[in-house]
Symmetry: C2
Subunit: 185 residues, 2 copies
DNA sequence: TAGATTGTTAATCGATTAACAATC
DNA sequence: TAGATTGTTAATCGATTAACAATC
């Protein structure tokens, strides 16, 4: 497949496909193009998606429970889907011990002691906004350096920690800009 | 508040704050800075966030139900939060008629007829990946031109329709790039 | 070989920053 | 008035695109 075809699929120019790939190496053959399966595997390796990533979810409310089911289904049904949700945490004593799908809910206080043993590398934060900062700090103590935060609030993390925000309403608010306003034609 | 202070909060340079605001008008006073409450209100208006946006949710599974509760809580508790979830749709006859929070689930087939009467301007798509495209097409027929898609699949929409993707796993896969690989130091 | 397409260099484009006259 | 900060213009920076020698 040529850079032209790849770009068509991705919605970018052929030149950009080649330039971006050049950051990581040489994957194509002059006059021929790219061998798709080979390119896919190389990129999966480069992007760290070729091996299991062990994930904890903190805050087992309705959104958290939904994400447990969603992630678990994809992990079991989709070959090569390497995001593995392996532990749940909550600070509510009434929830601790309960099961969601195949997983039991641990005490949030045990995050620090359990994370290393379980090999947790990433955490999903689905707690109320007012608790997100303290949970992020608990993750820091547990040496978890990749966080996906669903709480609609800014969270301050150490410099070596990466945090992504998944604020659903924020995304909807972005879309709102494109709605026909009452003031528009 | 000066562009310097605003930039510090937003994590951008003072010059960029001024340049970006200049796209929409003149909001500051020389020597003084910006009046924050006025600026906030102006921007809310410009971004179409100053009036109610009526939203439908399609696909009332566990993720959909969680989002209903989440949106409804923010709408009722947060002043000025104008995203109003007003209708639920599902194609499963066993779900139609059931209530989730304050809302009843409608037949997906009724989307086209109900959307105009309900003033739906935006839709959240939380159906399985294999149904996302047909649901997007139903939205097009219902003249809904802003979609937030949670299904992990590409959806083709008309040119006048805006679609945002909220693929949780994709965000986690992005984070994976920054994890220390087995091959790194 | 002739045609096609890569990887890369040079040119272009757009976005960010620096600088400053205007003025609160 | 003197100091501060805007809105805007010019300079800089980085990202995208065009072009092409290398070569499959």
């Amino acid at each position: 497949m040529s850079s032209h075809e790849l770009g068509e699929h991705a919605g970018v120019s052929p030149a950009l496909v080649r330039k971006d790939l050049a950051w990581f190496g040489e994957f194509g053959k002059q006059g021929v193009g790219y061998e798709v399966a080979f390119l896919r595997d190389e990129l999966r390796r480069i992007l760290n998606l070729d091996r299991e990533i062990r994930v904890a979810l903190i805050g087992v409310g309705s959104l958290g429970s939904a994400l447990v089911r969603y992630q678990h289904r994809r992990y079991t049904e989709e070959p090569g889907f390497n995001l593995h949700l392996v532990a749940l945490f909550d600070s509510d004593p009434n929830k601790v011990g309960a099961r969601v799908g195949p997983l039991q809910i641990h005490r949030l206080d045990d995050l620090e002691s359990l994370a290393p043993a379980l090999g947790i590398q990433m955490a999903i934060i689905t707690v109320p906004a007012e608790n997100a900062q303290e949970v992020a700090e608990a993750c820091a103590r547990a040496h978890i350096k990749a966080l996906l935060n669903f709480a609609p609030t800014k969270v301050i993390v150490p410099a070596d920690t990466h945090i992504a925000h998944a604020d659903v309403s924020l995304e909807m608010q972005r879309l709102a800009y494109y709605l026909d306003g009452a003031d528009e034609g």
